[in-house]
């Protein structure tokens, strides 16, 4: 590209990167606080990954079982995360989720109802009571559309009040942010390019909220859309922020496995919540064999009791199909490795024997559609073939729980999947959508407070020039590496060496191989020009995915235990010492560095919510003896 670089310049109080649930909720809050907000996203408005969420949003409204409440939800979340969660995030989340869901109703959301006309709630793995508010199996779409329409409503109001709909909130769709800019140690804005035509864009802003979602595309088999390339994780690292516990990745137990073109696409947990049963090729309902000791008193160990639970939850233990996801994913993995898998390397999930055709089509409409259209399977009559798929990253940007401010970078905030700490070593289903709402709102408020208290900084010419050079680089090279093949190579490495079951040797191998790709990525060249050029777009995503993969592999190799979304074949059990430690990743400009940091311990009012015998399963004697802070 020899022509002169075109650049647009914008000025806002707050820039939100991401138009998923977290980003939109943050934008609503910052606008409500009176600030001017830009929302930037890589896809069209309304298409962010949140749109794919199916099962529901967790909030202890107690509409179906009135014994539910924030304390129960808090306990379930900590248990699910194997007590590695940041207690304060789990506490805020459990307390505020119901208000965040009810608020959506005032913005037009239409959740499914109970007989009394309240918001209906469904069962999900790891949740003690029916807790997930839902709309069939398209809850994410309802969330996105509701907030998209809320933003339109605010814009219409701004038009009435100020004459211009976009005077306070503007959506910049199909723009990729390549850099968070800083001056004198503080955030000063972001830089990026328009995907449509490659025109570059500078946003000057005092506060930047990362709401960029997950990292699934780093892996070969994933339920994530192409946007899940870990951009926010990488942007935070490059801006001097930290990531916590990047070794924890959630492999969802049930992804489609056949045909190959749909491998990884999610089969919602609601299928099991609604009564779906897992069997191996011998017809055995194998999950009964895999109930870990810590969960023995909560899960049924025989079919009769498990089946009774669907009609009487007060007097029976839950079926083991509803164990937390990490347990179910490992169980499926073991069954398949032992030769008891289905023809295409999965296991069977069957809901047709428990529910009628009519009920299945009503409660699981998009699952029926998905299997019928893409796999030629009618789930009202036959079993689905399913297997684990990379679904969610628990690790993420280290933040202050109350304000969502990124640790170490004044002016930077993070919320949603890109933020770490909330889910510990394993996230419960439904806890992400609620996380987006609770912490999206807090990030918007945190950024608004920050803007009101600090002075704007100007972006320097040198920072702009620097960002421009990086964008131009792939076009200046010719005959270099093809970004598509490098991406495939990276996915093979992560899949084979940093997957569900890990070992020291394989992780060391992965770290070397990732370093090797890092060298080669410097030679990536792209065909064509800047006009909507996917190869060019991928070359940036690739750089981010490499940083993520490196962070994951380097965190995984030091954590010598198995917990939640991190399983080491060479250290197969939990270690109470590691429960007290977070792995903190930073970036020194050349490579990722991992160090350990103590996890804050629970104050006594939270500590005392648990039965001490339960805590003894996770904590050392000294810790339980000491009690809460």
């Amino acid at each position: 590209m020899s022509e002169k670089i075109q650049m647009e310049r914008h000025n806002y109080d707050v820039v939100v990167i991401g138009a998923g649930g977290a980003g939109l909720r943050a934008a609503v809050e910052a606008r409500t606080a009176g600030l001017r907000v830009a929302i930037i996203c890589k896809s069209l408005f309304g298409k962010a990954h949140t749109v794919m969420a199916e099962g529901g949003v967790a909030a202890s409204m107690g509409n179906v079982n009135e014994n539910d409440g924030w304390k129960v939800h808090f306990r379930d979340t900590m248990r699910g995360g194997k007590f590695l969660n940041h207690y304060r995030m789990a506490e805020l989340h459990a307390k505020e989720a119901p208000d965040r869901v009810w608020e959506l109703e005032l913005w037009g959301a239409l959740f499914d109802r109970t007989a009394e006309g309240k918001i209906s709630q469904r069962n999900f793995g790891g949740h003690e009571y029916p807790r997930l508010a839902h709309v069939g199996d398209r809850t994410g779409l309802e969330l996105i559309r509701t907030m998209q329409q809320k933003i339109v409503a605010m814009q219409q109001q701004d038009k009435k009040d100020h004459g211009d709909a976009e005077s306070f909130i503007k959506v910049f769709a199909e723009v990729t942010v390549t850099e968070v800019l800083k001056e004198n140690g503080k955030v000063s804005g972001v830089y990026g390019y328009k995907r449509e035509n490659g025109v570059e864009v500078l946003f000057e802003a005092q506060a930047v909220i990362l709401a960029t979602g997950g990292v699934g595309k780093t892996f070969k088999i994933t339920s994530n859309s192409w946007e899940g390339t870990g951009d926010g994780h990488a942007l935070a690292l490059k801006a001097g922020g930290n990531l916590v516990d990047m070794e924890f990745l959630q492999f969802h137990p049930t992804g489609m496995v056949w045909p190959p073109s749909v491998r990884g696409i999610l089969v919602t947990e609601s299928v099991r919540g609604e009564g779906g049963v897992l069997t191996n090729n011998k017809g055995e309902r194998f999950m009964f064999k895999y109930i870990p000791d810590v969960f023995k008193d909560k899960y049924a160990d025989n079919e009769a009791e498990a089946d009774r639970w669907y009609v009487d939850q007060d007097n029976n233990r839950r079926p083991p199909e509803l164990l937390p996801r990490d347990e179910v994913a490992r169980a499926i993995n073991t069954e398949v490795k032992a030769g008891r898998g289905s023809e295409h390397g999965g296991v069977f999930l069957d809901v047709s024997k428990r529910l009628t055709e009519e009920v299945i089509k009503k409660r699981l409409p998009s699952m029926w559609h998905q299997f019928y259209e893409l796999a030629g399977v009618d789930i009202t009559k036959e079993a689905m073939e399913v297997g684990p798929t990379c679904h969610y990253v628990m690790g993420g940007v280290e933040v202050d729980p109350d304000t969502a401010a990124a640790v170490g970078v004044p002016g930077l905030f993070a919320a949603g999947e890109v933020a770490g700490g909330m889910h510990g070593s394993n996230r419960l289903g439904g806890n992400s959508l609620s996380d987006l709402l609770v912490f999206g709102r807090r990030a918007g408020a945190g950024a608004a407070d920050y803007v009101k208290q600090s002075q704007p900084t100007k972006v320097s010419e040198s920072a702009i020039k620097n960002a421009q050079e990086k964008i131009a680089a792939p076009f200046k090279r010719t005959g270099g590496e093809n970004p598509y093949s490098l991406h495939q190579e990276l996915q093979e490495i992560t899949h084979n060496l940093v997957g569900i079951i890990r070992t020291k040797t394989e992780l060391a191998d992965a770290i070397n191989k990732i370093a090797n790709i890092r060298k080669r990525i410097e030679n990536v060249s792209v065909a064509g020009n800047r006009l909507f050029n996917p190869g060019f777009h991928l070359s940036f995503d690739l750089d981010n995915m490499l940083l993520v993969a490196e962070s994951t592999a380097k965190s995984a190799i030091v954590r010598e235990e198995s917990r939640g979304g991190h399983t080491r074949d060479d250290f197969p059990t939990m270690d109470a010492k590691w429960r007290t430690l977070n792995n903190i990743t930073s970036f020194n400009g050349k490579e990722v560095v991992v160090k350990q940091q103590g996890l804050p311990s629970m104050p006594s009012e939270l500590f005392d919510l648990f039965d001490i015998h339960e805590l003894e399963k996770y904590m050392s004697k000294e810790e339980t003896a000491k009690g809460g802070r």
Binding site: K47, R113, G117, R145, P259, A527, L531
Partner: protein, 253 residues
């Protein structure tokens, strides 16, 4: 098993373009989006196409396949005969940006013109009580994934740029119907406005929109026709229906 298939893909930009023939491998069970991706990765690195979920949930991969508006991620290659050339072109109703990517901003402008959801001013969080049967009618329309295939196919705007100004299109007729049937929406005269301000009158119920909708929303039968039939809006006292939790449907007082 793997076989080679023939594609004819439209390539170009706002100014110029042409159909290009390629041959590409296709495997069992693959959809059109898969083979487009393979062309991209192996033969045309800069081939522009939108997609996100690859599961029919986001409505990004809209294009025309053999002239029919479709989601590429939900269209099986096996639907076409082995020796058939599959022709892939961008949505015709919207201006091309590049290759298969079009400028759909028309739809976002129209969304801005529909008056927003207007709940009762004193409704408290968590206080709403609605029966499933009452929310279901609007829920059908809220299934919309905004793929804009219905907009693309509607003859009122497909080849009539001049109609775009005064015609919101089927996607927004169901949005208005959704709000109109929403048990908590208080705004009056939505139907009338659909007629007078959003061009409902220009629709002559050909049902082409319903036919292409990947979410199987009965756009014409359940939204357009009922609104056309009842442009005279008879609203009743909101306090009364909220209090007695009866359905918000004109006529039931």
């Amino acid at each position: 098993m793997a076989k080679n298939i023939k594609l004819r893909i439209w390539r170009g930009d706002a100014n110029t373009g042409k159909l290009e023939d390629v041959s590409v491998e296709a495997n069992e069970g693959e959809v059109v989006l898969d083979v487009i991706h393979r062309v991209q990765a192996t033969q045309m690195g800069d081939l522009a196409v939108r997609w996100n979920c690859k599961a029919g949930k986001c409505g990004s991969c809209s294009m025309e396949i053999n002239g029919k508006p479709r989601l590429a991620c939900m269209t099986q290659v096996a639907n076409y005969a082995d020796d058939e050339t599959i022709t892939i072109t961008p949505l015709r109703a919207f201006p091309v940006i590049k290759d298969l990517v079009t400028d759909v901003s028309f739809n976002y402008k129209k969304a801005m013109e529909v008056e927003s959801f207007t709940p009762p001013a004193d409704l408290k969080p968590g206080a709403a009580r609605m029966q499933q049967i009452d929310v279901e009618r609007s829920q059908e329309f809220r299934k919309c994934i905004e793929c804009f295939l219905c907009q693309d196919t509607c003859h009122v705007i497909r080849d009539h740029e001049e109609n775009k100004k005064s015609f919101a299109g089927p996607r927004f007729f169901i949005r208005i119907a959704e709000l109109d049937m929403h048990p908590l929406d208080m705004l009056k005269n939505r139907k009338q406005k659909a007629q007078e301000e959003h061009g409902l009158g220009m629709c002559n119920i050909t049902k082409c929109c319903t036919e292409v909708c990947p979410e199987h929303i009965r756009i014409t039968d359940n939204a357009i026709i009922p609104m056309k039939e009842r442009v005279v809006d008879i609203k009743y006292d909101p306090v009364r229906w909220l209090g007695s939790k009866i359905r918000k449907r004109e006529g039931i007082v």
